[in-house]
Subunit: 401 residues, 4 copies
């Protein structure tokens, strides 16, 4: 192989922490868009594992489209009902014939989708409160190509790019952490009323940070308005306690600002299942968080929906994940790097370990030339080991949304 085309440049812009306004958003795991992302990727992982078990390698598939159509519900203090199930349409394509062997793709997908829902949205029953339908295109592969797949570095499926940056700003960290706290198993045990549908908007205006949190509650664990308000208070208090661990800036936390408490059930973010998908909020893959876990308009972003794409040759997935990993390692390992951005550009058919260009931008207060060399070497090494990304995706060790 020729030398890889790696360009390392200075990142010339205002440091993210020095900007006057910074906006960051995270949609929690129970947000309809995130549910779509999560199911799409769970299905892909399940297919990967099945393919590997049967053929020793992953066969072609992309399950990166999922449309979630909101149901209808009647939340009620003490426990309401879902009147119309959430409809989830799984879209994509997958290899279901290899040589003479048939793979029950839909069975695997439906199973993975249901398991993911059960594990993630604790109060949503995928069997009776959802309808899950597969519309997967079929594909077939011959055994020869299977053997070829096992050894070679795959060619990029498309001309596309991946983007990453590091390190996370304080607002970014806070935004991520706020949702993580609400949706941690530990919090759910202590405050079972908190649903998984959470949206956190982090805003920094100069030095003042505001976390605007929309946090659903599950009706059967809420006895009335007072109980609901108390739960909101708990969220506020806990997040206010977490903030100082991340930033010295003053942080305001506001929870469910849209509530009109005097309206009772109807005026609150009260749900039967913990997600607004039960009543009025649709969702689909790729419209929410990036692989950073965040939406960051002040940072470079890719539009690719990573969730559900195959982790073998789909650069829209692999390069976005890898770009973040590269940025992270560069920021952590190279002294004096304040900010780094990574762009990886593929060319259709070209081996994925050899992008058309890997473009790294560094903001550093130390010797740039040195940092440049170190960054180049990190990027070289990580491209050479690009299959680690694939492995980590398959084993669920990577966040895609």
């Amino acid at each position: 192989m020729q030398k890889r085309n790696i360009i390392v440049n200075r990142l010339e812009k205002e440091h993210i922490e020095d900007t006057r306004v910074e906006i960051v958003e995270r949609k929690g795991v129970g947000h309809p868009d995130s549910i779509s992302d999560g199911v799409a990727d769970a299905v892909s992982r399940a297919l990967c594992r099945e393919y590997i078990e049967r053929f020793g390698t992953v066969m072609h598939h992309n399950t990166d489209e999922t449309q979630l159509v909101a149901g209808q519900s009647r939340p009620k203090f003490g426990g309401g009902v879902v009147l119309e199930p959430i409809y989830m349409l799984l879209v994509g394509r997958a290899t279901n014939h290899v040589g003479n062997e048939s793979i029950p793709v839909a069975e695997i997908a439906l199973n993975a989708a249901r398991e993911y829902i059960r594990d993630t949205i604790l109060n949503l029953d995928p069997d009776t409160q959802m309808t899950i339908e597969c519309k997967y295109g079929e594909g077939s592969a011959d055994l020869q190509s299977v053997f070829k797949n096992k050894t070679a570095i795959p060619g990029a499926n498309d001309t596309s790019f991946g983007i990453g940056f590091a390190p996370f700003s304080e607002v970014e960290k806070l935004t991520l952490e706020a949702e993580r706290w609400i949706n941690s198993r530990d919090t759910k045990r202590r405050i079972p009323a908190l649903g998984e549908d959470v949206k956190v908007m982090g805003l920094r205006e100069d030095n003042r940070i505001t976390l605007t949190v929309a946090s659903s509650q599950v009706d059967k664990y809420v006895s009335g308005v007072e109980d609901y308000i108390e739960n909101k208070e708990k969220v506020k208090e806990n997040l206010e306690k977490i903030a100082p661990k991340i930033t010295e800036r003053p942080v305001d936390v506001v929870v469910n600002t849209g509530d009109i408490e005097k309206k009772g059930e109807e005026g609150l973010f009260l749900t039967v299942t913990g997600t607004s998908a039960e009543n009025g909020d649709d969702g689909s893959v790729g419209r929410g968080n990036r692989v950073s876990g965040l939406i960051t308009p002040g940072r470079p972003m890719s539009m690719e929906a990573a969730s559900g794409k195959n982790p073998i040759n789909h650069v829209g997935k692999i390069y976005n994940i890898l770009a973040f990993r590269m940025a992270d390692r560069i920021a952590r390992e190279i002294g004096g790097v304040k900010e780094v951005e990574v762009q990886l550009l593929s060319q259709i058919g070209r081996p994925i370990d050899d992008p058309r260009v890997a473009y790294i931008k560094l903001m550093t207060d130390s010797d740039f030339a040195l940092a440049q060399r170190e960054a180049e070497s990190i990027v070289e090494e990580m491209l050479a080991n690009i299959k680690e990304v694939t492995d980590d995706v398959i084993h669920g060790r990577v966040r895609t949304f």
Copy 2:
């Protein structure tokens, strides 16, 4: 109430056992049409029970349309796969609001459908090998009408009729019994390979009876062609043993005449799940057995699909069931009755215990006038107790297909 309009007449025709040709058919519980019937009625029963528990009475609903769209499968000796799930569309309407209370109709329906499938088609997994979707129209009721419902005799929902006859002919009994044997729990334990998709065609030409049986087998319990053939033999032998208990006429049993054994898996009635709905055979409510459990072109028949209709005021269900019960009781209780046909005609809005006309035709070799009076009295009494039909339907004590 005025006297009911009951007419009892002579049944003037050749006795069914004297006809030269008699044709009877039964679609087993795993036939796609029967699955549709069974699910439709299971849903209605579940709704009835829910309504009664909540409101003390059954609210309006009809879940009597179900479209089953075949999936795709690849059966294989030792165990194949379902490639594309069976799609089941539940159609109908049901009351989901009573006063301020909401009833999760779809949840109840999806649950009932899945349970029915699990109990009935032992090797079909409704969660991963089927997609079940509800398209129920909504309805609401106010509390006043609920109270009214509890006491009054309901008015007929439509101008319609029910038909029954008795007793069953030998061919009818044989046809029913053949399927019952194949699909009994006991047989399934002894020959687990036998699937629930069964079709029995009984034909009598003069005194010779032929039972043509199509009986699916479940691939994971079948090691190869020989095993398959052996299972067919067992069906044949057992049915031949049963026949003499029902008739003295000679009975030929033929099983899976369409098989082309040399073709292997593809030439046989081999399935992954026990029903041909997995690959190519669609089904819907009301296209199969009548409430007699049979299709009997030589007998009067109603076209009404009884399964899934509400058992409160839907005469298409109630009158068909009642007509058979009347016929049966008349045939059993009145001496000398060789054959009886019952027709019940409703008039929209008129109380269901007072049909526009109850028309009974008797073939008797004893005193007709006496039989006539007895029949009239039986019909009177059974109309007066018509709510028993409703109760029996709700508690699953009535066959609707």
Copy 3:
């Protein structure tokens, strides 16, 4: 070929006109079940024509399942709206690959369905007031089998039977004629308010006939309750004028007995499109009229849904049509025949011109032996020319519902 197995026997029963009660029903072309039947058969005919044009012969298909899910509408004097479209699911299977050639089955089906709707339900727009979805299984054929198909008599697709009778009773004729009049182009021109959704129930009690007619009206042609009532009167008057041409018995005509006029729009059979499928009434293939055009519980009936079945080897279609044609010809051509019933029983794989048994029952007041011979010869001849049925179906010269 061996001599065909034709049995001609006496029909021993009370003559239909002598029975004390006779019930007959017809669902008009705009009834949801009939719409399903009509579309299913229109699609099959369109496929037949396409196959013949491309390959000189009809390829395998069955489009005999259609589920119609009611929409939601708000009829209003002067013109209301359809709020939720009628959903129509076309189910079945069809050959879409012959050798290397691909046939756009779904395109043909969607086109045929839309055309049929436009031609039949004048005020229903299939493009914006319906959603039509195809779920057809695929099939392929090789060119050799195509050539074979062209010449041979096909083998029966199943063990099944067809049933026919003749001549029609007075009530049967009246019932048919009543709907025919309402849905004739001429009537529609004169009374455009009359919708195609019509249900006629004919009841004869001894000599008194009652026609109970449910006849929809199209709101944009109805200015108010008075106008609506006037239209009902016109139906009544016209049908009362037609009756004496068919019977000398007294005939009562009642129209829309369920109307509660004081309730205005909601209390009437008022529609936006002319069919109750727009709001609350689902439908599917094979649940309505038999190939006689009627539901006749007092006559032998087949449960087979003829509409949409292929007219080449599907005996559930061909034998039912042929049985009625045979009965009709026997009744018309053989002197003294008062009533005739025909049963045709197929055996899977056996050439369709050679049924396992053709069983004819005659009620005649002339020489039975002579009639027997004549009937046998008619049946022989019509079996020999069975392909005429196929041709007539393809060219739309046969009623299937």
Copy 4:
């Protein structure tokens, strides 16, 4: 009203034209994601017009989710077939009851969707090559709120943000222009073979620009491989002619690099309808171009799907459009501005003409303080006239993708 919160700051970063690598992408109008965007917005516009006609104001709706599921096709030189229709699921919610009046939302939507497809994808027939299904949630409004809507400035529907920048870089202009040329009516007249499914990837490496174009062709206008290659050449030549009007940098144009010409039909970007949605490529709203018409990872971007959102109070739509308009005007009207970025942050419930913060960043080589004042005044004015955005959206004068 208090003074609006407008912050104008320096944009401190490398000028876009000075970066070493720049990547830009545009999905053409026939790309599956763009089709979804286009239909979603066409439906919203149609609803807006209907609401205005009936009520003088726009009622609540969001039709911003559309899932497109690929069909199956067999392209062939001279004309192939679509075997399985493209399935399009329209998702969202809309007001269908205002006071006593009902609005046929689905009718309007289906009509708008079909018209849009017909106008945009010239060789795709939405009636027979697509299935379009609506799953819209319902909504109702009372007449009082209607009157209120007419006068007041609406409150923001959510806490969200809009992002814009200006002026476009050379690569951005080129990328936009390349697709515009291919999909212009004029080009279609001259080269009817060119389908609407186009993807342009613009890459600048230092001073060298590469336009990678994927451009579908419509099979019925292509006689064979040579013809196909000739059409590709025409695209290349024409785009090479356009480039010098936009940039002095050298521009390489490569078209359909994935083609394997020796494979014939299968190796090319050949389609029956002009879009890859016919075979294997799914799409959905909000996964493609931003309101800039581009995907620009080197620029700040919003993740909001603007298409289909209501233009009254949905800041995810209005603020993104307005931010671009502000940026554009600032760049054009203020002397010396080299680059500008605009961020508008809403707060749920707060009037949309008064964002929580309007944050403008300027790169200017003239007096910053002066530019700052001018920018502030432009932003003030444009916020005061925010309803112009709404008007322009309704009348189709705004690009949303």
